[in-house]
Point group: C2
Chain length 208, copies 2
DNA sequence: CGAGCAATGGACCGTATAGTCCATGCGGAT
DNA sequence: ATCCGCATGGACTATACGGTCCATTGCTCG
């Protein structure tokens, strides 16, 4: 599973790799703000300072570019979340994690939603490969949450018979649902409420 | 707040109203399946058997058509939800409501997501009017849930100090998040889990 | 029953956009 | 040093798509 997959098994020089990365990064930024279908290849080229032949040298077309964007955004989000969740082992830690996400989203009043979630709902019904990659990313993200919950369990803050995977799914859904409602209302309040409810539920399972 | 708003205050005959309705209904169906931006006006015309001049006779352009679609889908969803939730006053009733939504979504393996939620994430960042209409619809839907919770409260199945509005927000978010995860995984299981968790939380608040 | 406006058909247009092509530059391996 | 293939510039193309226009039909109201 190499990071950079050119259309065919062509070699890739350092220069080419840089250009490719610039294109994908610009595309990711534009697509986050404008949406995938509203972002044109010409805009991507203008933003990245690349030429058409450069784009088509590295990608077969827009669909493949979108897949590269999914991969990049996935890396970005997962890195952020690994940092944010890697050492969390308390409910309070989860609340701080939530605060960071909310604050991040508050600066744009909820607009654009979750970087992964928005991509997912725009792309899932059109491109099965991209959909599968996004499902995999959600699973990994949810895995990080499950790890946190398992740590809670290990320190006796969650009963040993609690279904970690289900709780992680519920927490992930609360997060994604919170993003959708915040995006529509242009107000992060529902996002806070929704994650809070999931965390309160997890907390309520605590023995004693 | 009349149902049919032509571009200007023009008169509208029964024949015209029917054509308009046919166009909006076809557009709603196509946009649910293909997404808003992937649906072309020509497709809408072909599906509804209308001509271009008919479309532009009733709408100023695609944006206004999309707004009419939001309105129609909103009516459809709200009617369905009023029927489904209007008489519910138990947790078991909420579970049946959840089952109906899940079953409905299971026949397409989660594809297309929530009729309102998908519209919301595709349109919210592009069209402020449509976004506001969708926010209003979510609020109404959430209001129906709040009504159910209030009935639970009235029959002593929820403590009187429970925050009905927050619980309704959390339930709504769990539903929307469940739709997103189900759409991405092409599997309704996360939707079941997520709503279940919200309902379990509400149930756990029950006195005794 | 006639005037006038809604309704319709459908050709037509401008442009935005994905995608193609070919000539040229550059860099690393031998 | 040289050669091959990656890398690049950018003009060019085809077409899909939103939107315009005008002639014609037919309904409704006075």
């Amino acid at each position: 599973m190499t990071t950079a997959n050119s259309p065919n098994g062509r070699r890739l020089t350092a220069r080419g790799a840089k250009t490719r990365a610039r294109i994908v990064s610009s595309a990711a930024d534009l697509m986050f703000i404008q949406g995938v279908s509203a972002t044109t290849l010409d805009e991507v080229l203008a933003a990245s300072g690349a030429s058409k032949s450069q784009l088509y040298h590295h990608f077969n077309g827009k669909e493949e570019l979108v897949r590269a964007v999914v991969e990049l955004v996935g890396q970005r989000v997962m890195e952020r979340e690994r940092d944010a969740l890697g050492n969390v082992s308390t409910i309070r830690g989860l609340r701080r994690w939530r605060d960071a996400l909310v604050q991040n989203n508050a600066v744009r009043h909820g607009a654009y939603g979750c970087a992964l979630g928005s991509l997912a709902s725009e792309v899932s019904d059109h491109d099965d490969l991209a959909r599968e990659a996004l499902a995999q990313l959600f699973a990994e993200w949810q895995g990080l949450l499950a790890d946190v919950l398992r740590r809670l369990q290990d320190t006796g803050r969650l009963p040993s018979d609690a279904s970690i995977e289900q709780l992680a799914t519920g927490l992930m859904a609360a997060l994604q649902g919170g993003y959708v409602l915040a995006q529509t209302a242009r107000d992060v309040a529902p996002m806070v409420t929704s994650i809070d409810m999931a965390l309160a539920h997890i907390e309520s399972l605590s023995p004693r």
